[in-house]
Every structure is written in C-alpha cells, then in structure tokens.
C-alpha cells in the first residue's frame, strides 16, 4: 500500500523536482527565474489541447513511439523501491528486464523520430543511439557492482531496506566511484548539459530535443513527463546508493530520501550553470570515464573478496 502511494507521489513530484534545476540555474545566473510550478503549468497547457497535430508523412509508428516510451517509464517506476520501501512488483533478475525495457522505450523514440522523415531528427536519433549504447555499459557494471556487494539480483531487493549491512562501511571507497559513475551517466541519459543542452533550439546541436520536435499537444506533454520521470529514476538510484540503510522510521526514511533527491537535482543545476556543453567528439571519452570508474570499483570489490 505504501509503495503504491509512493509510486503515485513520485510521478506527481517529478516535474516539481525538474523545476528545481531551473531555479538553481536562474539563481546562479542572478535572475528571478520561472515559478517553481512552471512544469505543471506547461503540462496542464499541453494536456488541455484537443488533439496533437500529425504530419502527412508520418504513420502509426510515430503515434506508437510516445505511448510506448511513456508506458515504459511508468512500468520502470513500478519496479523501483522509492524511499527504500518494497516496490510494487519484483522478481529475481528484474534489473536486466528494466534496462532492456528502457532500451525498448528508447528504440521506439528513435524509430518515431526516423518516421517523420526529417533529416535533423535522423541526426538526433543516431546520436541518441550511440551515446546510450555507451551509457548502458556503465549501467550494467553498476548493477554488477551492486550484485557483488549485496548479493541480490532483484532491483527492489538490492536497493530497499532488507537487511542492515552497511555498504559504506564495507565498500566505502568503491561506492563513491559508483555514485560518481551513475551521476555521470544520469547526465548523459537525461540529455543534461555536458552532453546535450536541454534549452538549445538549434537543431544541429541537439540530441534528445531534436527527436521530439514534431510532437505536439498531449503527446508532447507525455514526452515531457516521461523525461522528468527518467531523471527522477536516475536521481532515485543515486539517492538509494548514498543511503543504503534503514534510518529507523518510515517517515524519516522517505523524507531523507526525497531530500537527497532534491540535493542531487541542485547539484545537476550547479553543474549546468558552471559547465559548457562538450564537443560531440569528446562525449564518448566522457561516458567511457564513467565506465572506467564503475569497472574499477568492481575490481576493487572483487580483489577484496579474495
């Protein structure tokens, strides 16, 4: 029951958290910034539209892309233990299922972008495919790391409060590396600044935004909500890695979890304010650095066990 409430609450809170990044960026830039509820206003405006506009050149694949990629994110949320509570569904080995589910969502986003026949969207699709392949390497190594340390194959059991083994005490040094690695790929996967600029409006330089240019109305709303949820998923993963233990009380657990998620969003905002976007040729090196960190953490853990 609690997990269902947390599931709904997190979906509802995801746009609010994304607005934190905007606020931090405005604050550092010395501006007042948009109101904190801006994402809700945008979503309400988009959902109020009667219907989306479809180009004559698109087929049913274009409409399918949005539905599947949003449905995938909702399914992924059902498997995630927010605040350390048990998730709604779980089975042994569900983490591989989740990664490929997100792969499926990405595939349909890409194929919908290709379906429009626009050359710019094709460029964005090709970049998205390339960078996310590299990011998947890191994600799998992080899962291998969590499996090595906790011994569970299920996403829910790994990250929820099942037993009180203190990961920080046992694997502190390598856990820092893993947290940094997940942070780096969360910036990649959510098209944040060192990799992709979410506010740019020049098609040549965009990755994710360029793929959704042709969407409108409620469909665009679902895409925005899905993107917010994806960022929430990665931040929640980092937050659970930072506090992998029980704090004693259910309310305190959930509150501390959301506070840490908010801190991660603030950190993303700071990174976005002080960094410029990388040149495209440098991005593979950036992602491979996160791969090296995760790989290294695994070596340390395995070396310790012997």
């Amino acid at each position: 029951m609690i997990s269902i409430i947390l599931f709904i609450l997190t979906i509802l809170l995801a746009p609010l958290f994304s607005a934190i990044i905007l606020k931090v960026k405005a604050f550092i830039g010395g501006k007042k910034g948009q109101p904190i509820l801006i994402n809700y206003y945008n979503l309400i405006k988009l959902f109020r539209d009667k219907s989306s506009v479809y180009s004559n050149s698109t087929t049913f694949v274009f409409r399918l892309g949005v539905i599947i990629s949003f449905a995938v994110m909702v399914t992924v949320f059902m498997f995630f233990p927010f605040g350390g509570m048990k998730s709604i569904f779980y089975f042994n080995g569900d983490m591989i299922f989740l990664v490929y589910l997100m792969g499926l969502g990405r595939f349909f986003t890409i194929i919908a972008a290709l379906d429009t026949g626009s050359s710019f969207e094709g460029m964005g699709a090709s970049r998205e495919a390339f960078f996310s392949i590299l990011a998947e390497l890191t994600l799998f190594l992080v899962f291998i790391f969590i499996y090595n340390t906790t011994g569970y194959l299920s996403f829910s059991k790994m990250l929820s409060i099942t037993d009180n083994t203190n990961l920080w005490q046992m694997y502190g040094a390598s856990l820092i590396l893993v947290v940094i690695a997940v942070f780096l790929i969360s910036l990649t996967e959510n098209s944040r600044i060192p990799v992709d600029d979410p506010t740019t409006h020049l098609e040549l330089t965009m990755i994710h935004e360029v793929m959704v240019l042709d969407h409108s109305g409620p469909e665009l709303g679902f895409i925005h909500l899905g993107a917010n949820m994806k960022l929430m998923f990665y931040s929640a993963l980092i937050a659970r890695l930072i506090i992998p233990f029980d704090l004693g009380n259910l309310v305190i657990n959930v509150l501390v979890f959301y506070v840490i998620v908010a801190l991660i969003y603030i950190l993303i905002g700071i990174v976005e304010s002080i960094m410029a976007r990388f040149r495209f040729t440098k991005i593979p090196k950036y992602i491979l650095t996160s791969f090296a960190l995760a790989f290294f953490a695994n070596i340390i853990v395995l070396g310790r066990l012997k």
Partner: protein
C-alpha cells in the same frame, strides 16, 4: 572496514587511469604530484613502527618524489610552451581500456604472488603502476610524457620495494632516489636542448639524427 591504506592505494590506481586518459600535460604532471606524495607516504599507513630513521627517510622521499621532481617538470613545461600531446601513437580512449586491462592483469598477478609485507592490494597497485608507466613510455611521442612514464615506473618499483622488505630497502631506495633526481635533471636539460634545436619535443624527430 574502511582502511586509509586501501583508499590511498585505490587513489593511486585511479590516478593511473587518469594519467593514461588525459591529453593535457598539465594534468599529467598534477597526477605525478599526487602520485609521488601518496607513494612516498604509503609506508606510514602500512603499519610500520615509526622510528627516527623511518621518519627521516619518508620525509626525504616525500621532498624528492612528491615536490622536487614534479616542480622541475612543471618548470620545463612552462619553458617549452607545450600544452597537449597532440598525436599519441595509441589513442586516448583505447589507452583507457588498456589501463583497465593493466589493472585486471595486475589484480590477477597480485592475487597469485604472495608479497611478504602489505596486503595484496599493495602488490596489485605496484604491478599496475609499473605496467602503466611502461605503456606511457612506449605509446606517446613527446619526450616530457616519456619522462613521466619513466617516473611512474619508478613509483611502481618503490611500491614493490615496500612489499618485499621493511629494513634493507632504505639503502637501495636511497641510492635510487639520487639517481632518479639526477636523471630527471639531465632529461629536463636535454629536453630543453631538443626544444631549442627542433622547435618541438617530439622524440620521433630524433630518428633523423645521423652521424
């Protein structure tokens, strides 16, 4: 349990990945600063009893390895006005995979061989540092990077020295330290001369030298 020596050795291993991955010479020398300091104070954290001789040797090693040699390199870097290694023989992304491969291999070797002093992580770090230094030596064109590779190898040999014995290594190490210092000084002077003569510090130009 988090032990300080483990964290230090992990940082040394990480510095290898950064050294092989970065194209900027300044970052490379900063890594050498860090590595020199960590390597020279490593014996303190490995639980040896602290005596006057031990403290003296550690401080001298720290001064030479951690401060003097990197300062010399930083100095020469400012003089030759080189910022980047432009065309390495082996590219940076591939070098990073090689760094990981080196660490895996040395983890395997370190678990096979039993070193008398220190845990197996110390052995792993020592072997990995030597191999990474060797790799840096053969895969880059600039002379200054090659000097850094050589120094990295020396750091590894010092770590190996720690693993083998506690008492007699001072004699060996002290002789070696002087050699290294003089060696680096000579290399720095040679490097400046190469820069004056050829207007860059690529070692490939040396192939053109004939009698």
């Amino acid at each position: 349990m988090i032990s300080l020596s483990h964290i230090m050795l992990s940082i040394i291993l990480l510095s290898l990945i950064f050294a092989l991955n970065s194209s900027r010479l300044k970052i490379l020398i900063t890594v050498m600063f860090l590595q020199g300091i960590l390597v020279s104070i490593a014996p303190v954290f490995l639980g040896e009893e602290i005596s006057t001789t031990f403290a003296l040797f550690t401080v001298i090693t720290l001064i030479v390895k951690g401060i003097l040699i990197p300062l010399l390199l930083m100095n020469v870097l400012n003089k030759v006005k080189m910022k980047k290694e432009i065309e390495p023989i082996i590219g940076y992304n591939f070098s990073m995979f090689i760094a990981l491969f080196i660490i895996v291999i040395s983890a395997y070797l370190g678990n096979e061989i039993h070193f008398p002093v220190g845990g197996n992580l110390l052995g792993i770090t020592a072997i990995a540092t030597i191999l990474a230094g060797m790799f840096l030596l053969v895969s880059r064109r600039k002379t200054i990077t090659q000097i850094i590779g050589y120094l990295m190898m020396e750091n590894g040999i010092y770590l190996i020295g720690i693993t083998l014995s506690t008492k007699s290594r001072y004699i060996v190490e002290f002789g070696m330290l002087l050699d290294i210092l003089v060696g680096v000084m000579i290399m720095v002077i040679v490097l400046q001369q190469i820069n004056i003569t050829f207007h860059n510090i690529n070692s490939s130009k040396l192939k053109n030298l004939k009698e």
